[in-house]
């Protein structure tokens, strides 16, 4: 019970950090990197504790792991284009 409250608190705090980040004059590349990192941490925490993957049989995790990796790589596959688009805007 306390564990769940702690996870919830951390998730709320990380969300607040993300919103702050959007309003600070962070360089866009740094901001994107931090947003991606924080989102992955949040998603990982939800899977590990709320969805009980941390206390689940390991075999389930290894069954799903390849799909997780594929999804993460697919989502990041256009990131190089994002950096090109940034230069396009600045010019």
């Amino acid at each position: 019970m306390k564990k769940y409250l702690a996870v919830w608190g951390v998730l709320l705090a990380l969300t607040a950090v993300e919103v702050l980040l959007a309003y600070m004059n962070t360089p866009l590349a740094v901001m994107l990197g931090l947003l991606i990192g924080l989102s992955l941490v949040k998603a990982g925490s939800i899977v590990a504790w709320f969805m009980h993957m941390a206390t689940e049989r390991r075999a389930l995790m290894w069954t799903l792991f390849p799909a997780f990796i594929f999804i993460a790589l697919a989502l990041l596959s256009i990131l190089p284009d994002a950096s090109r688009a940034l230069q396009m805007v600045e010019r």
Partner: protein
């Protein structure tokens, strides 16, 4: 030698839900990928979100959805202790949070439509915004709505003495997944399109 199912395998229901969630995640991945691609190909992508209502509402929606995940784990926890009355109450709390999320989201959608955003046009120039915005957030909202129906059936059944601890946990898996998807949509759709 006979072995109890629970000792060697994850239960079929749980595995089934996980496999569905992975395939559903791939659906969202495809949509997010399209959104990113179209966005990168448009140098003048609209940045329509003022602090209020856009960012304020979507932040509140994130908080509401995270809170609904907390109430959902509490429901699973109560069911594990065989407290059915409590479980049903936590499920109702989760449903209320989900309904709150949809109410906030619809308010925000109506605000954007009043500003002139449609699937094909928007008032900020580059016409490529509406379809991806409404498509991504709409598919997610449809998941929240079907989750509310799912939890409604689950909660009513728990109160009537039906369903096991595992059924509640599997329902929880679906609900947390909907929350998890929003953890990506919120920064991607809102935080990277804050009005400069």
């Amino acid at each position: 030698m006979s072995v109890a199912v629970g000792q060697v395998l994850t239960s079929p229901k749980k595995l089934g839900m996980w496999l569905f969630l992975v395939s559903d995640a791939l659906t969202f991945t495809a949509l997010i990928l399209c959104y990113g691609y179209v966005r990168m190909a448009s140098p003048a992508w609209p940045k329509p979100f003022d602090f209020s209502p856009g960012i304020l509402f979507s932040t509140l929606m994130t908080f509401v959805l995270l809170t609904s995940s907390l109430t959902m784990v509490m429901a699973v926890d109560s069911m594990r202790k065989d407290q059915r009355g409590r479980t049903a109450k936590w499920i109702v709390a989760t449903i209320l949070c989900g309904a709150g999320f949809i109410a906030l989201h619809m308010t925000e959608w109506r605000h954007m439509m009043a500003e002139g955003v449609t699937l094909r046009t928007n008032p900020w120039g580059d016409p490529l915004f509406g379809a991806t915005f409404f498509g991504l957030t709409g598919l997610h909202m449809a998941h929240v709505a079907s989750g509310i129906v799912y939890l409604g059936i689950l909660g009513a059944g728990v109160r009537m003495g039906r369903f096991t601890e595992e059924d509640v946990e599997v329902g929880g898996l679906y609900w947390h997944f909907v929350d998890l998807v929003w953890m990506f949509l919120f920064p991607l759709v809102y935080l990277t399109a804050v009005k400069p």
